[in-house]
């Protein structure tokens, strides 16, 4: 029986090429976009190289000093002074690292001008992140204490500056007017790893303006706080939440803040809050998911409605076949089953096509260098869910028209 259904499905698909194209296009494009969006989501938010410890990390990326009475706000990353005094002093975390937000610098090497992202970090940065060192090793506290003029670069920078595959450790680079010795080469990571990505990493003591000495709360640094286990994250957040209200407020010229807003967030929360919803309120995650859910629902309902419409007209066209099948013993239930199976077969085709299309896009994107080191992948759980969803759509869109036609008296159906 299934073979017969498969044959008729394939025959109908071939005969009604435009219908087949519209249906497959609708299903496969919807699923492809969903798969690619999920790949981007995972690429941005999941624990990927080199932030493999992201599940047990909290991020301090923003600090607000606010004057609630007169208005006015200073908002941005933190100073080293603030981090050292109010974050590094937390008791619950296992490790705390800090680094500056990336800055750009133009340098000249290998006969060309290179525009590089660089950031200053402390040595713990290399312990929390798990960068793969292809050459050399990370700088240590001793290097900083000895005021070593060192730098760590990624492979792309090495290839651009010294030549492709040419060993770089021990060689010197001129960056920001400083002559630095390369002590390590790491496999780079995409710029979408916002807190850790850079082309060049420098120990923080090389910052010209020793920011440790600047007594301001806002500055150029963010901190990564790593817990022993993910279960410890709420405890760390609680400890910090108790510290913040006790931090004395500073005055900057005429600006007198009366409130300090600061928190430790998971990576997801920090990005969603910073990028989409500002710092206010703690329900950024809920609002983000609501936004995504509404978008996904609207997005997927369009092809579903389209599919229902197409199916109704398609099944109406096959009235004569329904009449024949009824005449020779098909019950209404058997007819509904047949059309539903046909729809499922069609939907599965669409699903397979979507996997191919999204796979090809991801492969192209990873190799395109639009985002260097991009490592997007297909999430098979999402593929499975998306296929299941489209099967539900297939079922929904097939059952109603099939049921309607199956109720038609055989003699009417035979007339076509």
């Amino acid at each position: 029986m299934l073979t017969n259904y498969l044959k008729i499905t394939l025959a109908v698909m071939q005969r009604r090429k435009m219908f087949t194209f519209i249906t497959l296009f609708g299903i496969s494009m919807t699923l492809s976009i969903l798969i690619v969006l999920t790949a981007f989501y995972e690429h941005i938010f999941s624990a990927n190289y080199p932030e493999v410890n992201r599940e047990r990390c909290l991020y301090a990326t923003l600090l607000e000093e606010q004057n609630t009475k007169e208005g006015g706000m200073r908002r941005g990353p933190m100073s080293l002074y603030y981090i050292n005094n109010y974050i590094k002093t937390l008791k619950t975390p296992e490790k705390i690292a800090y680094s500056t937000v990336p800055n750009t610098v133009n340098i000249y090497g290998n006969g060309k001008k290179l525009r590089l992202f660089f950031k200053y970090t402390d040595p713990v940065f290399w312990e929390i992140t798990q960068f793969e060192f292809l050459e050399g090793k990370p700088y240590t506290q001793r290097d900083i204490d000895n005021n070593e003029q060192v730098a760590i670069i990624n492979t792309e920078t090495r290839d651009d500056y010294f030549g492709k595959g040419v060993p770089a450790v021990g060689k010197n680079m001129e960056i920001n007017g400083q002559n630095l010795k390369v002590t390590g080469v790491v496999r780079g990571c995409p710029i979408t790893r916002l807190v850790v990505a850079a082309d060049v990493y420098l120990p923080y003591h090389l910052q010209k303006k020793a920011s440790e000495e600047v007594k301001e709360y806002n500055g150029g640094y963010t901190a990564i706080v790593m817990a022993k286990t993910p279960a410890d994250l709420p405890k760390i957040q609680q400890e910090y939440a108790e510290v913040v209200p006790r931090i004395p407020l500073l005055t900057y010229g005429g600006f007198k803040p009366d409130r300090l807003n600061a928190g430790l967030s998971t990576y997801f929360d920090s990005i969603v809050r910073d990028m989409f919803f500002g710092s206010g309120g703690g329900s950024a995650r809920a609002r983000f998911y609501l936004f995504v859910a509404i978008f996904a629902l609207l997005f997927m309902s369009l092809p579903a409605i389209n599919l229902v419409n197409i199916n109704i007209s398609r099944i109406l066209e096959r009235a004569s076949e329904i009449g024949i099948r009824k005449a020779f013993g098909a019950s209404a239930q058997k007819l509904v089953t047949q059309f539903v199976i046909e729809n499922i077969i069609l939907t599965l085709f669409g699903g397979l096509l979507a996997i191919l299309i999204s796979g090809a896009f991801i492969w192209w994107f990873n190799g395109s260098h639009l985002i260097p080191y991009a490592d997007l992948g297909i999430n098979w759980t999402v593929v499975t869910i998306a296929l299941a969803l489209s099967l539900v759509f297939g079922l929904m869109s097939g059952v109603y028209p099939a049921w309607r036609m199956s109720r038609l008296p055989a003699v009417e159906a035979l007339k076509g």
């Binding site: 008729i8 024949i324 099948r325 005449a327 020779f328 013993g329 098909a330 209404a332 008296p409 055989a410």
Partner: protein, 227 residues
């Protein structure tokens, strides 16, 4: 075998009521070959469709194989049609998307018959109507006579006790019509299949056991032939 009592069929629209069959009572014995004649629109096909359980009468009782059909559920009706009745239509009603063999095995799809057995029985039915060499063809690749033979193969593949044929030779030339008639006669003679045939052709009707005539939805005469 087929027993119709006081069958009435009325078609209603919002404004018009049309009496298609008026108080028809008819009894057809097992193994009988009956023909129905009458002018166009007199209700021949309607009567055949009611006998075949494809349409419901407005009034009256139908008994097939000693079972009263009127209260059968959709499932039971389908099963009954599948086991007991084979249809042959004037316009063949083959599924153009399926090859000949798949068309013929259609009634067996709705029975518990294995795929291999379905193939075997369908091939045998095609053999019987002389189309064994056309199994893989599609209906669009066949002549009218061949299509009707495929339709006959489909009607007999499940070995039904009753075959209802609605102008089976209506679209064919006389030679081809004669061939089809011979196949039906053989089925009736050899397998004792009860056949009810609607026709416009007096000569074909005279080759059956009995001819009933309809006029304006009423049964007007019945002639028995010695064949």
């Amino acid at each position: 075998m087929i027993y119709l009592s006081n069958i009435e069929k009325v078609y209603r629209t919002e404004t018009v009521e049309t009496l298609a069959l008026n108080n028809i009572s008819l009894s057809i014995e097992k193994g009988e070959f009956l023909s129905i004649m009458g002018p166009s629109g007199c209700g021949k096909s309607t009567l055949l469709n009611i006998m075949g359980l494809l349409d419901e009468p407005t009034k009256g009782t139908i008994k097939l194989d000693a079972q009263e059909i009127n209260d059968f559920s959709d499932k039971k009706l389908s099963r009954f049609r599948n086991r007991k009745i084979g249809f042959i239509f004037q316009s063949y009603h083959l599924i153009n998307d399926l090859p000949v063999l798949d068309n013929v095995e259609l009634p067996l799809l709705y029975r518990d018959v294995s795929s291999a057995e379905r193939r075997r029985l369908a091939a045998a039915a095609l053999e019987k109507v002389g189309l064994a060499n056309r199994m893989k063809h599609y209906p669009s690749q066949l002549s009218g006579g061949q299509k009707q033979r495929v339709a006959i193969a489909r009607a007999i593949v499940g070995q039904p006790e009753i075959i209802l044929a609605d102008e089976p030779t209506g679209n064919l030339d006389s030679a081809m019509g004669n061939e089809i008639m011979e196949i039906l006669e053989n089925l009736n003679r050899a397998d004792h299949t009860t056949i009810v045939m609607v026709t416009h052709d007096e000569n074909m009707a005279r080759r059956t056991h009995r001819l009933v005539r309809l006029f304006d939805g009423s049964l007007v005469s019945s002639n028995t032939f010695v064949n």
